[in-house]
Symmetry: C2
Subunit: 328 residues, 2 copies
């Protein structure tokens, strides 16, 4: 009997994406299995390499996975993983950092589009009576140099965003778990740190994982602390911002802009376009969660996750283990 | 008789914008003068501090300015100055660098909006049958890290743009008059350098002054050298690109994007919206020349120009003198 690990591949990956893994483990491809084949395999599966949690792996199926010891997420975040269905012994690793630079770039696309009115200009020129618009648009253009950039979450995305902020001559502050000083970035910690960043920043970028600590972290009260003409950019997860409060805040504060690539969920799925009519607002910019475009084709973003699964297959120590308490 | 210089202020500046200049020179405010007053003053004017060349200072008026020795532009470019009407003794200084960082920021807003499809997403979600658009948009998203950024013109704007390109992990090449190596930027010179940059770049930013050397510098042939899915950003002057050739190139190459803040001129004025129907094209992004929003209110962008006029008033050497041969 082989002592190779049994790994269920539950993502849109191809064999070519998986490097040496096929030679190191027995791979089961969820997309190629019938329900009966899956049922038969469940008790022997040691590891799931998953992109976004599939409906086949429901509570009933998870009960049958008695050998399961490791789950690797291909997505950066692990909020799609059903922690309630997992026994304590199952280790879950995120793909933290896998998409950092791509998502960081996207954050800047949104932030600059908001600051410079690039989107408004495109929408406005199609409207009648455009004559006076250029002047009006020019007055709204924000110069970022010398302004304050606040970053909530100083992991891979946060660091990537900070680097560009520094190159633009912005003063950069970041909320982090531990106090630190890094490449000129001033860190702030805890509730007081959050309030300080919200109060002083001209632009705030959300680069946090979605978990118990961050869900609805930005609500009515937090929005009220922010400058009335601030820009709030979300490239993390929609649920970090409280939807209804944001909608009302945008309606009341024309100068405040929310620019997002991520959306609130409905029935467990990201809901785009959103339930509230955000796209009718001039101070709203939204893109359909496309910041990590190379996600499904392997390559750079998948490399860290694949390396971790490969470690697991070899019996080595895995990295990027999340604290399940943050997700239960 | 005072030996103070007589300076004609022909820009939307206020006294508060001019620092100590009012105490050092006799200032004539064009906006406050009648035609008769202007006529009377012309022969004694030593210097013009001008934002955008005013119609009052036509060929006839210039003939009467027999004392004129210095013209300072408040705008970065001096292509608005009527060099043909100036005698050889008149020195003209640009406000080079005055708007560099602001314009550099704007270049990134345009480049990133093009790369990430931020504008298309806003326009598309308003169209019927949007259902399949997110996936299509995601496929078009370009990751800039590791790609080649070409900058034509390595003055203030070019350097500002290069700094952010480096922070994004791009390989940066710049066309400059002299060969140089600066903060990891590879320089290319001459016609061969231009062709190399056009051929190898995934995104090209125009940061050149408009003059005899750069007018229609990017025409049919140059566009044909570029990658079919390249992004061309113009924050310099519309006339650097040949309008009709660009229009045809965009029509033939759906993957190629032109993103601009500057426009072609008609009867000496920047013409927005443009004569050709660029805004009907999906691979075109345009903003109404708003990259230097703080232009007319003094402050940072005006500081260099003001410092130069102040030097002149004090009898000191002025900086940023342009070569009139480039403009005749």
């Amino acid at each position: 009997m082989s002592n190779k690990k049994n790994i269920l591949v539950a993502g849109p990956y191809s064999k070519a994406d998986l490097g040496e893994l096929p030679g190191l483990a027995n791979l089961y491809w969820l997309s190629e299995m019938s329900r009966a084949e899956l049922e038969a395999a469940l008790p022997s599966i040691d590891c799931i390499f998953v992109h976004f949690w599939p409906k086949e792996l429901d509570t009933e199926a998870m009960k049958k996975m008695t050998s399961l010891s490791f789950i690797q997420s291909g997505l950066a975040g692990v909020n799609h993983v059903p922690f309630r269905d997992l026994s304590n012994g199952v280790v879950v690793s995120s793909n933290a950092g896998g998409y950092s630079d791509e998502v960081g770039e996207f954050a800047w696309a949104l932030l600059l589009a908001a600051a410079k009115g690039v989107v408004s200009a495109q929408v406005r020129h199609r409207e009648p009576g455009y004559g006076s618009a250029p002047l009006e648009l020019g007055k709204r253009v924000v110069v970022l140099k010398g302004k304050v950039l606040g970053i909530l979450g100083y992991g891979g995305i946060g660091k990537s965003v900070a680097r560009v902020g520094a190159a633009l001559g912005m003063k950069v502050m970041a909320l982090s778990r531990k106090s630190m000083q890094h490449d000129g970035v001033e860190s702030a910690i805890g509730e007081g740190g959050l309030r300080k960043i919200l109060k002083e920043s001209d632009a705030v970028v959300l680069g946090l994982p979605l978990n118990n600590l961050t869900r609805k972290m930005i609500g009515r009260e937090e929005l009220a602390i922010m400058k009335p003409n601030a820009i709030l950019v979300n490239v993390a997860r929609g649920e970090i911002v409280e939807q209804q409060s944001l909608y009302e805040h945008l309606r009341r504060n024309e100068g405040f802009v929310y620019a997002t690539d991520v959306w609130w969920t409905k029935d467990g799925k990201e809901c785009y376009p959103p339930e509230l009519p955000f796209f009718e607002l001039k101070n709203f910019i939204g893109t359909p969660h496309v910041s990590g475009p190379s996600a499904v084709v392997g390559g750079g973003p998948l490399a860290n996750a694949l390396a971790n699964v490969t470690r697991y297959a070899r019996g080595e120590k895995v990295l990027n283990i999340v604290d399940r308490a943050d997700y239960l």
